[in-house]
Amino acid sequence: MLLSGEAVAADYEEDDNSRAFRTSFPLHDRFSMSAGVDDVLHAQPSFSVSLAAHFTLDFPEEEIWWALRHRIVATELRFDGNGRASLIKGEYLRHDMSSFIVVPADVDWRVPAPFDLSVDWRLISVELVDSTASVFEPIAMSFSADFCRDEAFRTRCALGVNTAYQYDFGTKEHVITPFSTASIRLKHETASGRFAVGVQADAGWRLRTTGTDRGWQSGWAVTSELEWIFLAINDQPLSLAFSAGRDGWDDSYNAGVALRVSFPTR
């Protein structure tokens, strides 16, 4: 197991005066703080601040490579009292050098598998809505097959199924997703880490156990985010982060822009 190592010389450039400066940044190994505006498409936008600690564990085995990305205490607080926080968000990516899954038998079966595998998960999340109601989500997981198969894990084209459990303290509803929604994740980040864009779409059915909407409920949601590092002060990157989303289950939408300062940890 390797913690993602120190910054390397390749992360730096020198100008004509031999002054070095960093030009590559680890998007998944940093402490980030953002300040911006949410609900820019609404009549009353709200200022928000957010923070997160990102760290990655790498397992560069001979045939199978793992990248275990984490975001700890990913928190967003809005000045109107709303907000959301997750204790930990994980993105576990597995890259296989071969294109087969071997099933042990007298003669091993080699099942063609031209994809990588990944697991995305959230542990203990809370969402405050209108300062009073809150939604508690102990766990959410998504199992995906990644067809881009990027060994550097910079590009993802993943199709997967999701499972989750939520409890709404406001309506006292249980919301269960027993692998009943599908998702598609498209993400790309440049080798320098200065530009990253991602889109995720989910669609399917969720089960509500109580309330007026009791029963299976179909719906969909799309979220997207973009981050662009345009400046660095003392090699600490400053970026613009854009986000936009549409939630068909709640019939809500959101768009925001924030200025993000990051402190790379390697």
Binding site: E13, D15, R19, F21, R22, T23, R194, I229, F230, L231, A232, I233, N234, D235
Partner: protein, 442 residues
């Protein structure tokens, strides 16, 4: 550049001037404490200079008759007396005195500037500007404290010179006469910091912005009033020595202050000064300078503007030559007693190919087999321990007397033919020529 304290430099200078042997002893027993440094300057000011004895040193020259004289002057270290003609509509006389001392510490990358008992007296109106003591420190850093990289287009780096330093002023007095009254403003103390926008490598030349706050007492007559005040200020200051011989000094400052008094009287004071000074000649190596100065001031409010023009001369005492230029501006002097004035690190003083940190005789060329010492020294002892004849217990050991047992003795090397040449010149097949073959040292 030499890493010497204000104290050390002052004493060395006095020593070089006086030729007295007492100064090294004094120097040995005093440390770098700044108050003691100040005391030393005062001592220096009380001692008349002797004849110059710094033969062949930087800043001095000899004529065809072998007579030596000083040709370079560090006007940032001096005690001066001056007189000038002052014109502000009326022609009056102006007297000045003061002592300044600046010291650049290359090791710590800062320059301390001190001034003592500065005073300027306008004779006709008895207007006075005086400062008991002031000090400030400028810093430089190898790496700029702030740099910005832009990623719009090709990545580019921009350095931000954010050099901050502290400053204090103690006992500053300004006395002015007006048509029907006089006013004396006494800053008991002022503290602030400055942001140097541009500075030379040794921090001698600079342009900076200084922000400070002072507390003091305002004494007015007609009517008689005494009020305390609090006065924040902002200044733009600059000094420039355009001549590498230290013959020119250009300085300017512009200050805006706002005073707040409990009486409810608030005032705004503006002042600016521009001065150009030139060494004209030297008497007994004490330079005489001439200067011109322009001053503008609004003492209590902007409408109360006055302008002066001054032209005069100063006789300056105890002005040493400046330090020789740093021959290696990109590396630090190692201050090991060997050529410490050139600004260059000397990792191998004696040039024997053995780094000083591993060289027992760093000032004498020697052999690696003798740990850097020459062969004429006491012969190398392969077993530095005196052993108990009945056992291996150490009776005494030069290496470490506390050792319970002696370390094993090294193979004798005395019989081995040893080249007189330094290690770098040792023949590659030295082992073959040894009758005992190679030892570990080979």
């Amino acid at each position: 550049m030499t890493r010497k304290s204000f104290l050390g430099t002052g004493l060395e200078y006095l020593y070089s001037k006086s030729g007295q042997t007492v100064w090294p002893l004094v120097k040995e027993h005093l440390n770098r404490d700044i108050m003691k440094s100040s005391l030393t300057l005062l001592i220096a000011l009380l001692v008349l200079p002797g004849s110059a004895s710094a033969a062949d040193t930087y800043g001095y020259a000899k004529d065809e008759n072998g007579r030596q004289y000083q040709t370079r002057f560090d006007l940032r270290k001096r005690w001066f007396w001056g007189g000038a003609a002052s014109f502000d509509g009326d022609l009056t006389a102006n007297l000045q005195t003061g002592a300044v001392y600046e010291e650049f510490d290359e090791w710590e990358n800062h320059r301390d500037r001190q001034a003592f008992l500065e005073a300027t007296l306008q004779m006709s109106t008895l207007e006075l500007d005086a400062t008991l003591y002031r000090w400030d420190r400028s810093r430089r850093s190898e790496e700029p404290p702030v740099w910005i990289t832009t990623f719009i287009g090709e990545p580019r780096r921009f350095d931000v010179p954010l050099h901050l330093g502290p400053s204090i002023v103690l006992g500053r007095v300004a006395r002015r006469e007006f048509d029907t009254s006089t006013q004396t403003r006494i800053d008991v103390g002022e503290a602030g910091f400055h942001w140097t926008l541009a500075q030379s490598n040794t921090l001698e030349d600079f342009v900076r912005i200084r922000l400070a706050a002072a507390g003091g007492v305002n004494i007015r007559t007609a009517p008689d009033e005494v009020y305390g005040y609090f006065a924040p200020s902002a200044s733009l200051e600059g000094r420039w020595s355009p001549s590498d011989r230290g013959l020119w000094e250009i300085s300017f400052d512009a200050t805006a202050r706002r005073g707040f008094e409990p009486s409810g009287i608030n005032w705004t004071s503006l002042s600016s000064t521009l001065e150009v000074e030139r060494v004209l000649f030297a008497i007994n190596d004490q330079p005489l300078t001439v200067f011109i100065q322009g001053r503008a001031e609004a003492f209590n409010n902007v409408d109360d503007r006055r302008f002066w023009g001054l032209a005069g001369a100063r006789i300056n005492f105890f002005v040493p030559p400046p330090l020789p230029p740093d021959q290696c501006p990109n590396e630090k002097e190692d201050f090991d007693g060997f050529e410490d004035d050139d600004g260059c690190a000397d990792p191998d003083n004696d040039g024997d190919g053995i780094r000083d940190s591993e060289d027992n005789c760093p000032f004498e060329s020697g052999l690696r087999i003798r740990h850097g010492c020459p062969i004429s020294e006491a012969p190398y002892d392969p077993d530095p321990c005196v052993r108990d004849p009945n056992g291996s217990r150490c009776l005494s050991c030069k290496l470490d007397p506390t050792l319970p047992t002696c370390p094993p003795a090294e193979e004798p090397v005395a019989a081995e033919p040893v080249s007189e040449e330094p290690v770098a010149a040792e023949p590659p097949n030295a082992c073959e020529s040894s009758p005992e073959g190679c030892t570990d040292e080979n």
